[in-house]
């Protein structure tokens, strides 16, 4: 192997030393607070120079390690700053009186106790659970039927499949407003024509809740359908042929062959609908913004009738400025989702072992 040129050695050392120096200089002037507007540029420039120098470092033995570090660093850095650090801080903040900017006192479990004493929060938990259950059943049922339809011998299947999937392309905010229009301006015409009474589904908590479910099934079923289609297509044709020869009826084929053979797909879809319904925010915000009155919830009058958990967290912190309380609710939200995910992994692993 050839030697490294002197020029490369010098460049490498100069960049490493200069980069580190610039980075430290930037950090120092930021810490002492000179207000120099270039401190960030110094830090970024220094880091880049440091890595370029490291890349040119005259070594064969460690070159692979250096490349590994350079390849991993950018993504890991972004990941640490946006996910890991905020997660650790967030869990910590939930035990304090954090107001979004500073912490002055540790409160222990006080936020958690307070949130479970809030009837509005308990209501949000309750309707979120209801919403999740409704959606698991309805989305999967509708999606499976559509998948059966789209795997039969129909003309123009490609069109139908694409059409059913289209709502999933569009963000919940826009969809929420479109459906708000439908519920408040189109359906009201219908009720006026049929019952001579202008009635908007969104004006009452119960029907508004059903409205959110309708929008959600409308949006999500096409996506879950695609996964069921993939599952159904993995059933080998000869198995279906054999059952047809043995004289199995269509329902028998469905319940005794198709459903058991796509059990793992059903698990995937169930958990996908579960987690996504649990996290529902955009449609909730745009369609009802969580409003709706509840006359008597354990003796309390509530105004957040259709406010799901994610929106409740958002409103607690951002609208009502109770950051620590909102953060405690978010940690609760996280723990529930983590438990669900662990259960999902357990179930999927068990199934794989059985197969």
């Amino acid at each position: 192997m050839h030697e490294f040129s002197a020029g490369r050695k010098i460049t490498s050392f100069a960049l490493i030393a200069g980069g580190l120096g610039l980075l430290i200089f930037g950090l120092v002037i930021a810490i002492i607070g000179t207000g120099n507007p270039f401190r960030g540029a110094f830090m970024i420039g220094g880091t880049v120079a440091f890595f370029v120098g490291l890349y040119l470092f005259p070594t064969f033995k460690h070159h692979r390690t250096i490349v590994n570090i350079i390849f991993l660093f950018p993504l890991l850095f972004a990941f640490a700053v946006t996910v890991i650090i905020p997660l650790i801080l967030g869990i910590g903040y939930s035990f304090t009186n954090w107001d979004g900017i500073r912490v002055t006192k540790a409160l222990g479990l006080e936020n958690y106790i307070r949130m479970f004493k809030q009837p509005g929060f308990l209501w949000s938990v309750l309707i979120t659970v209801l919403f999740v259950i409704f959606n698991i059943v309805l989305v999967n049922f509708v999606a499976f039927l559509l998948a059966l339809l789209c795997t039969s011998k129909l003309k123009g299947i490609g069109f139908f499949r694409a059409a059913y999937f289209i709502p999933n392309l569009i963000g919940g905010i826009v969809l929420g407003y479109i459906w708000q229009f439908i519920f408040s301006s189109v359906f009201t015409k219908l009720t006026t024509a049929l019952f001579d009474q202008r009635y908007s589904m969104l004006s009452e908590t119960k029907t508004a809740f059903i409205g959110i479910v309708i929008v959600y099934v409308w949006q999500y079923a096409g996506y879950i359908m695609l996964i069921y289609i993939t599952g159904l297509n993995t059933i080998p044709g000869d198995v279906l042929e054999a059952s047809a020869i043995d004289g199995a009826s269509k329902t028998q084929t469905l319940f005794n062959i198709k459903l058991p053979m796509i059990a793992s797909t059903i698990t995937i879809c169930t958990f996908l609908t579960l987690t996504s319904a649990f996290k529902q925010f955009d449609v909730n915000l745009a369609l009802t913004n969580g409003t709706g009155s509840v006359a008597n919830f354990f003796g309390n009058y509530l105004t957040n009738g259709t406010q799901m958990l994610a929106l409740n967290i958002y409103n607690t912190a951002v609208i009502n400025n109770q950051y620590a309380l909102g953060q405690a609710k978010a940690v609760f939200f996280f723990v529930v989702l983590a438990i669900v995910s662990i259960i999902q992994i357990r179930i999927s692993n068990k199934k794989e072992v059985e197969l």
């Binding site: 059409a163 059913y164 392309l169 955009d282 958002y314």
Partner: protein
């Protein structure tokens, strides 16, 4: 008898399929026809065709586009730049990280991989509040605004999209025979040359998948940009602008629906051109995630 049954069941199925398609597409139909009406005609009859004119459509669209809360062209530019930059960086940096994780059997790479996977269950809600304060503090410390800035938003998408991207890419890279890299190394390729010349070009199909999944998410995402950019900030992505616009125009449905149409059009056009890839990508992402 048997064929008759088949024909009738086929007809029933077709009818059902058409009815469902009509139901699914009906809201979009309403958006289009009502964007072509004046407010009075929408209130009078939101389903009918009365009052539809091209002139109304043009006037509604110009009202929306010129609206100071919406600033459509600016919002679409911001959304486009944020999405494009995030996708390019996620694909490149994600592939680099995934390759290192995949090809090094050390405790470190296993730990990093496990952390990425485990982080996929973290809901955005639990990190969003401290994220904003962290970004605000880091921005203040460095003298570079991280909130209310396109680069800050792209940085956040790198952090949030990284885990899923690495996860899907690692699954693919594992399937590429290591002998390919060994041969390249014998031929005198350095590790980074091996990656950029041999491995990266092979990743094209899986990078398409990842880009579609991330693209759909980033383009439609509302909560992250609304928290980072603020409701009344100068920079807005398309969903944030729609929200701000609707908030400012109470029940002016002709304008709201025209705005919705403008927000829908780009992604529907994209879908028409890349239907296969989008559908395949969505399925793959779901089954793997």
């Amino acid at each position: 008898m048997k064929t008759k049954e088949k024909v009738s069941s086929l007809i029933i199925k077709t009818v059902i399929a058409v009815l469902v398609a009509a139901y699914v597409l009906f809201p979009f139909f309403l958006v289009v026809i009502n964007s072509c009406k004046a407010t009075e005609d929408i209130t009078a009859n939101p389903i009918g065709f009365k009052g539809i004119s091209f002139a109304n459509l043009v006037s509604n669209l110009t009202d929306v586009i010129n609206n100071t809360h919406f600033r459509f062209w600016y919002a679409i530019l911001v959304s486009f730049v944020v999405t494009l930059l995030s996708l390019v960086l996620l694909a490149l940096l994600g592939a680099m990280a995934a390759w290192v994780i995949c090809r090094n059997h050390t405790k470190w790479s296993a730990a990093i991989y496990f952390t990425f996977i485990a982080s996929m269950i973290i809901p955005f809600q639990v990190v969003m509040l401290p994220l904003i304060s962290t970004f605000r503090d880091v921005g203040k410390f460095m003298g570079i605004p991280m909130l209310q800035s396109v680069s800050g938003l792209v940085f956040a998408y790198l952090g949030f999209g990284g885990a899923m991207t690495v996860f899907i890419l690692t699954g693919f890279i594992k399937g590429i025979p290591i002998t390919l890299e060994e041969a390249a190394s014998i031929d005198g390729c350095s590790p980074e040359q091996t990656f950029f010349r041999i491995i990266f070009p092979l990743l094209k199909p899986v990078i398409t998948t990842v880009t579609i999944l991330n693209g759909m998410w980033i383009w439609n995402d509302y909560l992250l940009p609304s928290m980072m950019l603020g409701q009344n900030g100068k920079i807005k992505t398309l969903p944030v602008a729609v929200q701000a616009f609707v908030g400012s125009y109470v029940k002016q449905w002709n304008l709201i629906l025209a705005a919705a149409m403008l927000a829908i059009i780009p992604i529907v056009i994209l879908f028409l051109f890349a239907q296969r890839q989008i559908i395949d990508g969505m399925i793959e992402g779901a089954v793997k995630g």
